[in-house]
Amino acid sequence: MPWNKNKNDVVFALLSGLVLLLVSGTSLFLIFFIVQSSFPELSDFINLWPRLTGESWSPLTNPPTFGIMHAWVSTLIITTISLTLAVPLGILVAVFTVEYAPRRLSLIAIQCTEILAGVPAVVYGFVGFVTLLPAIETLFDLPAGETLLAAGIILAVMILPYIAAIASSSLNSVSIETRIAGLANGVPKFYVLRKVVLKQSLTGIFAGTTLGLAKALGETLAVMMLAGNAVAVPKSVLDRGQPLTSLIATELGEAGVGSPIYEALFSAGATLMVLVISINFLFWKLKGRLSYNG
């Protein structure tokens, strides 16, 4: 395809190409930097495993220990709680907006969940702090409401809109012809929904779940305000905890550059980043499959 050639054009192409290289170079550097900082020397790599599995985080004792097991166990528990709540609810909300609600109500519901996606994390943390914590305190008769459960519940509300949005777009992608072909067998709408529509949307629902998972893993402030920031390895959902993200946010300011604690925080960051990137890789694959189906 012959474009009209022009000298400025070449200059501009070079310029924008350089910018692309610069931007992607910096971003690659970001990933490399985080991973590298968690073990500055290659020999430190061996320390990574004991650090990840170390049960005790106590930088001030002699000798100090920097195990971050409590952090990823907290992350795991909070994420599990939030997915357990948000995935079924998100699917049901999607079914509501696409299949059950009258048009008006469905539009309202969509708008409302979009609002949910726009509320910033710190506000969720705050609202959870003043409403959820007292409720959990009285409900479970605890001295303080800060628990992994509280963090998990608020996190569920935060990821709900993402799961609902992707689930409803995949429900919408099941064609009216397919639905009619199902109904033409003399079965009720619910049967078609269960056996055809939901089944066909499974990839999409799963993709929504992975996206929600990635969001949940990376959330910082809301969980930090609600989980209680305790460095013991949590044993139940009513324990306090400190997920990876909170660990970083809490300790980074105090950590001397290059100190063991600094490296330990970067290990936490690197773990988190690698996890989120792998989840996104999965999401990317699923999304590809989704567009083939749709």
């Binding site: 054009d9 509501f96 509320v119 305000m225 980074l252 990137i277």
Partner: protein, 289 residues
């Protein structure tokens, strides 16, 4: 006998179906109720404290934040976003132009897109970690507006890149062939056709990225925020920001009233931004049709 079991089955079916419908409606009502509850809750508790003074004065009182207002936090948030945008918007739009207009390698494009989408989903705390280590410590920018703004720019870049790249590609499909057949140069096409045509979606993406950045406190806490400031905006000084101010007020149990007021302002700005984006999209569709 046969008829009886049939009836029982039919009944069971009806019950399952009804139960499911009830569940769906409960979920739907929750989906409407939770957001409305959060918004009303913040509005009712935050509205009483809102005043011109609250919006403009610096925090005061003891402990700090029990009196005064959030003027510096508003200014700080705006300054952070301005700096973030002035780095990220031109760079990511140029990069998107290159990938949509000049780049011919399909594999490279797929890689860049995937990479950008991954970066867009990397948790903000990771950007905070990076910004802290690189900007605050290594380049010795200290905790400052500049360090915070650049960290924000890092966060915004992949988002703006992906969004603009997408709309450039869409516009290309429609317009590129026509432009080629008119014999114009590529640069002319980019300046006079592509950019004006995609302006609404570029703006949409920029607003979305800004709102996203405005709400995220974690990276700013690590790189650019301070609990109190008289409102002086200087690149080498830290600033207050709306989300980090809420975090401070709640975390140190300073003043819930002020936290409600600040949250109302923040949420108000974000919802307003959302509506703005909705309006832009609507206009875009209308112009197209």
């Amino acid at each position: 006998m046969v008829d009886k079991t049939r009836e029982v089955r039919a009944n069971q079916r009806l019950i399952t179906e009804r139960c499911f419908a009830v569940l769906v409606w409960i979920a739907g009502i929750l989906g409407i109720f939770i957001p409305l509850y959060i918004i009303t809750f913040i509005t009712i508790n935050g509205a009483p404290i809102l005043s011109w003074a609250f919006l403009t004065l610096p925090p005061a009182g003891f402990p700090l934040g029990t009196g005064g207002g959030i003027g510096p936090a508003i200014l700080g948030s705006l300054a952070l976003i301005t700096i973030g945008l002035s780095f990220s918007a031109p760079l990511s739009i140029l990069a998107a132009i290159f990938s949509s207009q000049y780049c011919t390698s399909h594999n490279f494009l797929v890689f860049v897109r995937f990479f950008a989408e991954v970066l867009a989903s990397v948790p903000s705390i990771i950007y905070g970690l990076f910004g802290y280590a690189l900007l605050v410590v290594f380049f010795d920018l200290k905790i400052s507006l500049l360090a915070g703004g650049i960290t924000i720019a890092f966060m915004m870049t992949p988002v703006i890149f992906v969004g603009t790249h997408e709309s450039f590609n869409l516009a290309n499909k429609e317009l590129q062939q026509a432009a080629i057949s008119l014999g114009v140069s590529r640069l002319f096409y980019i300046r006079k056709v592509l950019l004006p045509k995609t302006l609404p979606s570029i703006l949409t993406v920029i607003v979305l990225a800004s709102m996203n950045a405005m709400g995220s406190a974690a990276p700013i806490l690590l790189t650019g925020a301070i609990v109190n400031s008289i409102g002086e905006i200087r690149l080498d000084l830290p600033v207050m920001s709306l989300p980090s101010h809420i975090f401070y007020l709640v975390g140190e149990a300073v003043s819930f009233d002020h936290a409600f007021g600040t949250a109302l302002v923040l949420v108000g700005v974000l919802i307003f931004g959302n509506m703005g984006v909705g309006w832009l999209k609507w206009r875009y569709i209308k112009n197209d049709g």
